[in-house]
């Protein structure tokens, strides 16, 4: 009559008074926010604002000095597979002799534990991840031979193969072609429909304004949290970016990050 479903509810995230320091330097200072399950949040702020550090704290790579992080109401580390993290691309040895399929399979290792061999389910998840990111035809190529955009897709495919409840993406669009950026965004749309929680950091403020419903603006402290219209205002941007903000005669605001990224100045109009 009744079938019993023991299903974990989709993950929500609570960060309370989080402070992280490297030595005596505070990188994150008293940050609190809550992300409901299935929400899609973009994290923006100047270089050195602590965006990467926040991600690292969320996956347990750095220890907070104080404050708490709760995922599903549990501290990070209690879950080995429900949080997928795609770090910035520099962290990996690209000359390593592994193929695309090998790398994507690593996303399943957390579930496999120490000794179990990959099953048909695992191979299917790997296949699906590669299909979604459009890298299935590269499955047997060594990762060192791929372009930057393709490498980024492979790492997203790995995160998808992990079948996470929470997906953390640190600057996934830096040094990536437009096609990869579009492919990534459309996969994120699909994931949002499946109630996967997504937090993504970027320095592209116009992208943040157009493609996300909620923006977290940080510079060590949490400066703004709300809709793009609320957060990407002249006042808050000036507070976060300081001298990099330029107000144009027509009242729009220009944030110049070109000294740090060697890319076009990111501009955003705010009336």
């Amino acid at each position: 009559m009744n079938t019993l479903h023991i299903e974990q509810e989709p993950a929500h995230l609570e960060i309370e008074r989080l402070t992280v320091a490297y030595g005596r330097r505070r990188v994150l200072d008293d940050i609190s926010f809550r992300v409901e399950y299935g929400e899609r949040v973009v994290l923006v702020g100047p270089n050195g604002a602590g965006k990467s550090t926040l991600f690292k704290a969320l996956v347990g790579l750095v220890k907070p000095q104080s404050g708490t992080i709760r995922i599903h109401g549990l501290p990070p580390g209690a879950h080995t597979d429900c949080v997928a993290y795609v770090p910035q691309r520099e962290d990996v040895d690209w000359r390593f002799p592994v193929t695309v399929a090998d790398v994507v399979m690593m996303g399943r290792f957390g579930r496999l534990g120490w000794l179990r061999r990959p099953t048909r389910t695992d191979h299917a998840a790997v296949e699906r991840g590669m299909e979604l990111m459009g890298v299935a035809h590269l499955a047997h190529r060594p990762i060192g031979e791929l372009s930057g955009g393709q490498q980024q897709r492979v790492f997203l495919a790995r995160a998808l193969a992990q079948e996470p409840h929470i997906l953390l993406l640190d600057e996934p669009f830096t040094g990536v072609d437009a096609a990869t950026q579009e492919a990534t965004l459309s996969v994120l749309d699909t994931l949002s429909d499946q109630k996967v929680t997504i937090i993504l950091s970027t320095h592209d403020l116009s992208l943040a304004a157009v493609r996300f419903e909620r923006v977290l603006l940080i510079n060590r402290r949490l400066i703004g949290d709300g809709s793009p219209a609320q957060v990407l205002s002249r006042g808050l941007l000036t507070e976060a970016f300081g001298g990099q903000v330029l107000t144009l005669p027509d009242g729009s605001v220009l944030v110049d990050q070109c000294a740090c990224h060697q890319s076009e100045p990111e501009s955003i109009a705010v009336k």
Binding site: V59, L61, P97, M106, L112, P142
Partner: protein, 280 residues
């Protein structure tokens, strides 16, 4: 035909040659496979340092009349643990820690050995190997330890792969990164110890690094890289010993020279990656 056959078989008429050949092949394969991790994680300096650091263990075993291999084994494990202890938590960089521990152990080893009368001869054997002096007991020790090391690598293949390729992923998957690093260090230490008899302290680093690097240039996946490296290690060991027998040169040196020759050929002519092809 007959002359070639006798040329091949002649050296094997002696029991010590048979044992030497077997030991050299086992060590060649073991070093090559473990060496793949040494190559991929850029630990060549560590391998060399560990090799030199076993000297005091050998010296103490010699002075006590104990088995030299056992002495080396204990020393290698102690040194591997000391290095990981000093470099832990990033207080001192790993290569600095290696430099300190390795020089200190080498100094202690030389000091101990120099107190013995037949210093020069024994030191030469330890430094450059004496494959013809492999006893049946040594052979069993080499085979036993070698099998244990290879089985461990097979069992933890996935974990070693992740910590070598993507330490961040390893950490987010809650792998005990630090313990696995120490385990790998111990496996390298054990490999070095069983290699002492064939190539010696001075040349074991080459056996760890050269076949692995050669295989790296020829392959695209870690499992094939390990197999090709093992093949190169075995071929270098066998041909090195024949070279040593017929040309009458030190066996360890001959093995390393053959391995280096193979590397040079591959470095020049490897498909796609060789220098010759990249010229266009």
């Amino acid at each position: 035909m007959n002359t070639l056959w006798s040329w091949i078989v002649a050296p094997l008429a002696y029991g010590f040659m048979q044992r030497g050949m077997l030991a050299a092949v086992l060590v060649g394969i073991l070093c090559a496979i473990v060496g793949c991790y040494v190559v991929l994680r850029s630990m060549a300096f560590l391998g060399d340092a560990l090799a030199h650091a076993v000297l005091p263990g050998v010296a103490i075993a010699y002075l006590m009349g104990a088995n030299l291999l056992m002495g080396a084994l204990v020393a290698a494990v102690v040194v591997a643990l000391l290095i990981s202890l000093f470099s832990r938590k990033g207080t001192i960089k790993e290569d600095t820690a290696i430099g300190i521990v390795f020089a200190a152990a080498l100094a202690l080893g030389v000091a101990l050995i120099s107190s013995v009368r037949t210093y020069a001869v024994d030191l030469t054997h330890i430094m450059f190997g004496n494959v013809l002096g492999v006893s049946p007991t040594d052979l069993w020790l080499i085979a036993g330890i070698g099998a244990a090391v290879l089985l461990t690598i097979l069992a933890f293949y996935r974990q070693f792969l992740v910590i070598a390729f993507d330490p961040v992923l390893a950490a987010t998957q809650r792998l005990p990164v630090e313990r696995l690093r120490i385990l790998l260090l111990l496996l390298i230490a054990l490999t070095i110890v069983v290699s002492l008899q064939t190539v010696g302290v001075g040349l074991v680093a080459a056996m760890l690094v050269t076949p692995g690097t050669t295989a790296y240039l020829l392959t695209r996946r870690l499992p094939t890289m390990m197999m090709v490296a093992a093949l190169i290690g075995a071929v270098a060991s066998i041909s090195g010993l024949y070279l040593s027998y017929y040309v009458n040169i030190a066996s360890g040196a001959a093995v390393v020279l053959v391995a280096t020759a193979l590397f040079t050929i591959v470095f020049l002519f490897a498909p796609e990656r060789g220098v010759v092809w990249r010229r266009e």
